[in-house]
C-alpha cells in the first residue's frame, strides 16, 4: 500500500505530473473519439445517399421501359 501511495505522490510533484499525463490522455482520446464518430456519420450518410440514388435511377429506367 505504501508503494502505491509513494508512486501516486510522485516525490511531491503529483500536482504537476498527474495533470500533465491526464490532460494528454484526455486530449488524445477525445480527438480520436470525435474523429471516429465523424467518419462513421459521413460514411453512413454517403451509403444512404448512394442507395437512394441507385433506387431512383432504377425507378426511372423502369418507368422508361413501360413507355
Amino acid at each position: 500500500m505504501g508503494n502505491i501511495s509513494a508512486f501516486l505522490d510522485m516525490g511531491g510533484y503529483s500536482q504537476y505530473v498527474w495533470p500533465a499525463y491526464g490532460l494528454t490522455a484526455l486530449v488524445l482520446v477525445v480527438l480520436l473519439a470525435v474523429s471516429l464518430k465523424a467518419m462513421r456519420a459521413r460514411e453512413r450518410e454517403l451509403g444512404a445517399s448512394e442507395r437512394h440514388r441507385r433506387k431512383r435511377r432504377e425507378d426511372r429506367s423502369g418507368r422508361q421501359d413501360e413507355t
Binding site: A20, Y21, V27, L28, L32, M39, R53
Partner: protein
C-alpha cells in the same frame, strides 16, 4: 503525372487506409502502453528534478509531433497547390486539428513542468512564444480551410497560410540557440548525439513513436471522413442539378 494521380486516387487510398488502419491502431496501443510503462515505472527519477522529470515523457514527444505534423501539413499543402490534387488538400486539412492538439498538449504540459522547475507557469521567451504562434497558425489553418462553401477554395487559402507559416518551424527549432531562453536547448537532436541517459531516452523515443502512429491512424480516419464528405457533396449537387449529374468532381468516384 498520371502515375502520381493513380497513386493518389481516392479509391486506392480507401483500400490502402482499410488495410493500414488496424495495424497502425495496434502499433499505437502497444507503443503508448510500453512508453507509459517505461515513463512511469522503468525510468529513474532525475538527480535534480526528482519525479517531476516524468512530465518530459509526454511534453517532449508532444512538442516533436507539433513540429512534425506542421511539416507534413506544409508538404501536403505544397503538393496540393502544385498538383491540384484533392487528396493532398484533404491530408493537410486532416492533419491540422491533430497538430493543434499536440501543440496544446506541449504548451500545457510545459507549463505544468515549468511551475515546479522554473517557478513560473509561463515566460515570454523565444521558445514558448514561437510555439504559441505555432498553435495560432494551426487554429488559423483550421478556420481558413472551412471558411469557404467550396472546399477547394478553402484548401487553397489554407495551403498558402501553411506555407507562409512554415518560416516559424526553423525559428522554433533554433530559438533556444539564437536567443537566451529560459527553455533548455535540445538534448536529443543535437550535434554529437543525444546527452540524455539511455534509461530516459528509451521512454522518450517509444512514446514519440507511439504518438507518430497515433497521428498516422488519425490522419487515415480523418482523410476517409473527408473523402466521404466530398463524395456526398458531389452527389447532393448532382441531385440539385436534376438528378442525373452527380459526375465525378472527385476523381475515382
Amino acid at each position: 503525372m498520371s502515375r502520381i494521380h493513380a497513386f493518389a486516387n481516392p479509391q486506392r487510398f480507401l483500400r490502402l487506409a482499410a488495410f493500414v488502419l488496424p495495424w497502425s491502431a495496434a502499433a499505437t496501443a502497444l507503443l503508448v502502453a510500453g512508453g507509459l510503462y517505461l515513463a512511469l515505472f522503468a525510468s529513474p527519477p532525475d538527480y535534480q528534478q526528482g519525479e517531476a522529470v516524468r512530465i518530459m515523457y509526454v511534453h517532449v514527444p508532444a512538442a516533436w509531433m507539433a513540429l512534425f505534423i506542421y511539416v507534413v501539413m506544409a508538404a501536403a499543402s505544397a503538393a496540393g497547390l502544385i498538383w491540384r490534387h484533392p487528396l493532398a488538400d484533404m491530408a493537410a486539412q486532416a492533419a491540422s486539428p491533430v497538430g493543434a492538439c499536440f501543440t496544446f498538449v506541449a504548451l500545457v504540459t510545459g507549463s505544468l513542468w515549468g511551475k515546479p522547475m522554473w517557478g513560473t507557469w509561463w515566460v515570454w521567451d523565444a521558445r514558448l512564444t514561437s510555439v504559441l504562434v505555432l498553435f495560432f497558425l494551426y487554429l488559423g489553418h483550421i478556420a481558413l480551410s472551412r471558411a469557404f462553401d467550396d472546399p477547394t477554395r478553402g484548401s487553397r487559402a489554407a495551403a498558402v497560410l501553411a506555407l507562409v507559416g512554415f518560416v516559424n518551424i526553423p525559428i522554433i527549432h533554433f530559438s533556444v540557440v539564437w536567443w537566451n531562453t529560459l527553455h533548455q536547448p535540445s538534448s536529443v537532436f543535437r550535434m554529437g548525439g543525444p546527452t540524455v541517459a539511455p534509461s530516459m531516452l528509451a521512454p522518450l523515443l517509444v512514446m514519440a513513436l507511439g504518438f507518430t502512429f497515433y497521428f498516422v491512424t488519425l490522419l487515415l480516419v480523418r482523410v476517409r471522413t473527408e473523402v466521404a464528405a466530398r463524395k456526398l457533396r458531389v452527389l447532393r449537387l448532382g441531385e440539385l442539378r436534376g438528378g442525373v449529374g452527380a459526375g465525378s468532381l472527385v476523381p475515382g468516384t
